[in-house]
């Protein structure tokens, strides 16, 4: 007898049973489909020396300022104070940009060194910037490079990488200095993803799937010089 009404949903799904022989049939089909896919010509050589980015994810994705709150006590801070600080930061950057001959140092809530470094690193126009809350070493910068909307994640050594659904196998790509390249999906949109690590900081770059390789290479060079 099921007392808990919520258990009824679980129990009702538990009663979904596949057709007879489905388990073996599916396994056979899986092997057949996998073999057929493996025979398709590949554009880049697949290397397995570096674990897929998905393997670095344990539990939650890094939190973005203003979007999550651990308790009601910090809810106001995350909801209002940090976004206001980010807006003031952008305003300061915008004003200082008008001054000749100097790139402004952003004052960021969170990890100033990480944020400033990320901002300095990004070519093109910055359209959004967010920081990890509660001292998390995590910066996300959205920017426009040659007309393309791009996102750069900069993660400290203790931060977990964000989860994306991988559409192709991640592989080290020599055209990008050994950075790991793959195509991913996020929010039902497809992106190209590059990931590399330097001095204990991890960079993850998301660019539209339509961006051509030479443009991406140029962007990567500017980000890593």
């Amino acid at each position: 007898m099921i007392d808990n009404k919520e258990d009824r949903i679980r129990e009702s799904i538990d009663q979904i049973e596949p057709a007879a022989g489905a388990k073996e049939r599916m396994l056979e089909n899986i092997r057949r489909k996998a073999a057929a896919q493996a025979e398709l010509p590949k554009e880049t050589e697949i290397k397995t020396s570096q674990p897929a980015e998905i393997s670095r994810v344990n539990e939650e994705k890094p939190k973005r300022a203003g979007k999550t709150a651990k308790s009601s006590g910090t809810a106001w801070l995350l909801r209002w104070a940090l976004p206001i600080a980010a807006c003031l930061c952008l305003l300061t950057l915008g004003v200082l940009k008008l001054l000749p001959g100097k790139k402004p140092d952003p004052v960021g809530v969170g990890t100033d060194v990480l944020t400033a470094g990320t901002y300095e690193q990004v070519p093109g126009e910055v359209t959004d910037i967010s920081f990890g809350a509660d001292g998390a070493e995590y910066t996300v910068v959205s920017f426009v490079y040659k007309g393309w909307d791009c996102v750069l994640y900069k993660l400290g050594p203790k931060e977990e990488a964000p989860v994306f659904e991988e559409l192709t196998q991640p592989s080290e790509n020599e055209a990008f200095g050994g950075a790991v390249y793959c195509e991913v999906r996020r929010d039902q949109k497809k992106y190209q993803k590059l990931m590399w690590t330097e001095e204990n900081l991890t960079d993850i770059l998301l660019v539209p799937e339509q961006m051509k390789e030479d443009v991406l290479r140029g962007l990567y060079r500017e980000l890593t010089k």
Binding site: I13, P51, A52, V57, R186
Partner: protein, 169 residues
Amino acid sequence: MSETALRTDADFEAFYERHWLYVYRLCYTYMCSEADAEDCAEDVFVKVLNGTFSFKDETHERKWLTVTAINLCKDRLKSYAHRNVDSLDREDMPEIAAPEPEDDLSEVREAVLELPPKLKDVIWLYYFNGYSTDEIATMLDRPPSTVRNQMRDARNLLKERLKTDFGSE
């Protein structure tokens, strides 16, 4: 805990053994057809077999499979809608030989299957996997407030259909 790398056939078969029924049931919840559910579930495992993934633990495996299966099913449903194609052989497939349900669970199951895909996400992750709304928000990359609203909408639809409350947070 050491990572699980699916490097050999035996590794993959053990992985498949652990998760095939869960993935099938998840796909069935979206596709509502045995053939489509099998097809989608197979494609999920093909991604694993042809990928170079390694998972931290079974929880990580389950989470990855859940997100991948949901996205795959939704893409498939979109392509069916775009091509005006009905689900594969739905009427031709033999009926599921389900055991006699207790408490009219078949009605509950039908109500869940009739939910819109976006609401199925949160129902599945909350009731079937036991994730909190914050965890669901992270996995689906939606604001927690959106997830809570969707939970409320899903419960209201189930309540309307089944004339019974399904609790609140």
